[in-house]
């Protein structure tokens, strides 16, 4: 007669394998959708489509790879970013680009898309800042479509145009492209990840919500 313990272990193993397979295939289906969507639109997406904060001719570029639902990104936004803007970006020494790597949940993707819909109306950085200022817990609905539209309204954006942009998934391919670039080209496996690069191609990589002192040292060494 079969051992009940062995049967129980077997059942648990089968359930675990099934759960992993289902989760993995649901995760991978996001990428399938991306490729299909990109092919359908038939346009080339490049990183040059990404908005830049600061002078286009700055010596150093800070590439921030982030997710709008990431608490560590908010910590960096609240505590370090402003000093960098005042001392390096407003002085023309550096500029900043934000590369979306939305992986925490579905709302991360919507939030990233919303920033590009806001960009259509010239409010990318204002919307970007609002998202971090209003960030709550991961996947608790603070970045659902209704809340994203409310943020757009509060910023004075044309909500009809914004909603149309969101509903048509106009920037889904763009976000999927940056997500793929972030993990393949920039080898990011957490957020926030920063690549600081100067015009001669020398780069410094910073992973996590480091204090301002780390950025000061890295930026000064690259200027």
């Amino acid at each position: 007669m079969a051992n009940p313990k062995k049967i129980a272990v077997g059942v648990v193993a089968v359930i675990l394998v099934a759960a992993v397979t289902i989760s993995f295939s649901s995760y991978m289906s996001d990428f399938d959708n991306v490729q299909r969507s990109s092919q359908d639109e038939g346009k080339t997406i490049t990183l040059s489509d990404i908005p830049v904060l600061g002078s286009q001719t700055a010596t150093v570029t800070i590439i921030e790879i982030g997710d709008y639902q990431c608490p560590a990104c908010k910590l960096w936004f609240d505590n370090t970013r402003q000093d960098i803007i005042e001392n390096y970006i407003e002085t023309g020494k550096a500029n900043l680009v934000f590369i979306d790597m939305p992986f925490i949940g579905a709302d991360s993707i919507s939030a990233a898309e919303a920033t590009y819909c806001a960009n259509d109306q010239g409010m990318y950085w204002e919307y970007h800042a609002s998202l971090y200022q209003l960030q709550q817990h991961e996947n608790d609905g603070w970045a659902n479509i209704d809340r994203l539209t409310a943020i757009a309204f509060n910023l004075g954006l044309e909500t009809e145009q914004f909603s149309e942009c969101m509903n048509s998934k106009k920037y889904f391919s763009q976000i999927s492209f940056t997500k793929q670039k972030a993990s393949t080209d920039f080898e990011a496996n957490s957020t926030p990840t920063f690549i600081i690069v100067n015009t001669s191609g020398t780069a410094e990589r910073i992973v996590g919500p480091h204090p301002y002192s780390t950025f000061e040292k890295a930026l000064d060494s690259l200027l």
């Binding site: 759960a19 989760s23 993995f24 649901s26 990431c70 505590n79 996947n139 957490s190 480091h210 890295a218």
Partner: protein, 158 residues
């Protein structure tokens, strides 16, 4: 109770064990929770929003050090290992919380397990403080019970 602490830590090797366990837990936890960074420069940062989280790591490490070292003493004294398991469980529960949901560990979990991984990672991040408090509570009970048991058993077997 003071007498029991005095008895255990009158032996310097138990002080060393406690210090060792404290740092063995403290440094990995502050690194995983992104208080301490090693690259590109060594940096340590506590932001106003993360002070509570940092204090809980200090308390958790301290309680784990006390609970485990006292139980090692107890095991050597009366050859019973039951409570050391409870202190390890308390430590593991506390350590599992607070690994940032956007850090490399969470990224691996989410990319491997998809939605289920995302939910698990969010849970550990959102309930970081209650989980750590539960863990500290478990360790506090272990320390209390161990102290009581040591004072009783030491009287019987001086």
């Amino acid at each position: 109770m003071n007498n029991t602490f005095g008895t255990v830590y009158s032996n310097p090797s138990y002080i060393l064990i406690a210090i060792g366990i404290f740092f063995l837990l403290f440094f990995p936890l502050i690194t995983i929770s992104e208080f301490l960074f090693f690259e590109p420069f060594i940096a340590f940062s506590i932001y106003p929003e993360t002070i509570l989280s940092f204090l809980l790591i200090v308390i958790l490490s301290f309680f784990s050090a006390l609970a485990v070292s006292m139980n090692i003493y107890r095991v050597k004294l009366i050859k019973k290992t039951k409570k050391i398991g409870s202190s390890i469980i308390g430590t593991i529960i506390g350590a599992s919380a607070g690994a940032c949901s956007c850090g490399p560990i969470a990224f691996s979990i989410i990319t491997t397990f998809g939605t289920a991984g995302s939910i698990a990672s969010s849970f550990l991040s959102v309930y970081e403080i209650p989980i750590r408090l539960t863990s500290i509570g478990i360790l506090g009970i272990v320390i209390f019970v161990t102290t009581k048991s040591l004072s009783r058993e030491c009287k019987i077997n001086p």
